[in-house]
Symmetry: C2
Subunit: 200 residues, 2 copies
DNA sequence: CGTATTATGGCGACCGGTCTATATGCGATC
DNA sequence: GATCGCATATAGACCGGTCGCCATAATACG
C-alpha cells in the first residue's frame, strides 16, 4: 500500500469518483487521466491489464473506505441501528455536496460488469459481505441471536443500496432517513425475537 | 401503442434487455439492432433523437411492465407483503433463468444517467413512485395509516432494488426471500402502529 | 560511465453514434 | 393507365473518440 507510487493513487481516486457518478463504460481513460492530473503513459505502466484492472482496484479501494468508516462508527460499541443512522447521515451530506451525483461507490460499476467480469463481481460480493459483517458483529455484541443478526445485517446493506438509488433519482436525502427509521425497526424486531421467542 | 410499427417494438424490447444486463453506455446501437433483427437504418427513423430517446423509451416500457405485474398481483385485494412475496418469487425465477444477468430493469441505466439526463431521471422517479403507490394503496386498503403506509411502501421499493443488486453479485436468489421476510415485518409493524399507538 | 528500472508521450486500429441520400409502397391526379 | 407526390422505411458512409501498445526519455544505481 505505502509503496504505491504517487500517481497511481491519484488515478485510482479519480476512477472511483467517476465510476461512481457515471459508471464504468461511460468513463473514458482520458477522462480519468485528466481528472487525476497523471500523464497518459502512466496508465498502462501502473495497470498493465488496462481498464479492467482499474475497475477492480477502484472497487477494492472504495470497499475499503466504506468498511473503514463503518468500523470507526462501530468502534465505541454502538448499537447497529445507531451505526447505520450515523453513516446515512454522513452519506446524506456527501450527496448534497455533490448535488446528488455520488451514489454508492460500487453499485453502478457492479451492475454494469456483474455478468461480464467475475473478478469484479466477486470483489463486490466481498465488499457487501464485509460491510454486513460489521453490522452483524455489532448486533451480536448487543445480544441478538447470531443467525438473525446476520440476516438483518445483509438486508440492511441491501436497503441502504436501494435508498441511495432513490436519493439520486429524487434528488433528496429523504430516502436515507426513511431507511434509517426502518432499519431501527428491523434490528429492534431482531432483538425482540431473541427475547420472547417469536413475535410479541 | 397499437399503431407502433412492428420493428419499433422489437428494438425497444432488445434495448430493455441489454440495458438491464450491461447498462446504457456499454450497449452499442449495433448490438441492439443485431439482437432485435431490425435493419440498421430504422433506428433513427423510429427514434429521431437517437440513443437518448431509446433509453428513455426503454425505461418507460420497463416501468410499465413492472407496474402492470404489480397491479395484477394486487388485483384480488391481497395484503402488501403478499404482493411483494409473490412478485419477488417471480423475479427470482427470471433471474435464475437468465443466470443472474437480469436485474432491475431500470436501475443500471438510471445510475449511469441520473446526473446527465433529467428526462431519464424523472422517468425513473415516476416509475418508482407508481410501483410504491400500488403497495401503498394495498396497505391502506388493509387498514394501515396512510402516511405510514406510503413511507413503508417507498422503503419496500428501495429494499427490493437493493436485494436485486445482491442477487446479481452473489448469484443467488436468497436475498429476495430474506427481503420478503423483512418486508413482512415492516408492514406488520406499520399495522401495529396504527392499532396500539406506537410500539407494542 | 553503462545498465536496469521507472516513467511517459504519441501513434494506430477500431468502433461508437449520427446523419444524409436513396429505395419502396401506395393513393391521388391528369 | 401512367405519372406524380408523399410517407414509410432503409443502407451506407462520415467523423470523432476509444482503448491498447510501443518506442523513447528520465532516473537510480553498480
Amino acid at each position: 500500500m505505502g509503496n504505491a507510487p504517487k500517481h497511481r493513487q491519484a488515478i485510482l481516486e479519480a476512477a472511483v469518483r467517476l465510476f461512481r457518478q457515471q459508471g464504468y463504460a461511460a468513463t473514458g481513460l482520458s477522462e480519468i487521466l485528466a481528472a487525476s492530473g497523471a500523464p497518459k503513459g502512466s496508465l498502462y505502466y501502473y495497470f498493465p491489464n488496462g481498464k479492467a484492472e482499474i475497475g477492480l482496484a477502484a472497487i477494492e479501494l472504495a470497499a475499503e473506505k466504506v468498511a473503514a468508516t463503518l468500523s470507526a462508527l462501530a468502534a465505541n460499541g454502538a448499537r447497529p441501528e445507531k451505526i447505520v443512522a450515523r453513516y446515512l447521515d454522513m452519506v446524506g451530506n456527501w450527496m448534497r455536496q455533490s448535488a446528488y451525483a455520488d451514489g454508492s461507490p460500487i453499485t453502478t460499476i457492479v451492475l454494469e460488469m456483474a455478468s461480464r467480469d467475475d473478478k469484479i463481481r466477486e470483489a463486490a460480493a466481498d465488499a457487501f459481505r464485509r460491510w454486513a459483517a460489521i453490522l452483524e458483529h455489532a448486533a451480536v455484541e448487543h445480544g441478538c441471536e447470531p443467525t438473525q443478526a446476520a440476516e438483518t445485517a445483509r438486508v440492511t446493506i441491501a436497503l441502504i443500496e436501494g435508498a441511495l438509488i432513490q436519493c439520486r433519482v429524487r434528488r433528496s436525502v429523504d430516502p436515507l432517513s426513511e431507511a434509517a427509521a426502518q432499519v431501527k425497526i428491523l434490528f429492534r424486531e431482531t432483538d425482540l425475537r431473541r427475547r420472547c421467542g417469536h413475535s410479541c
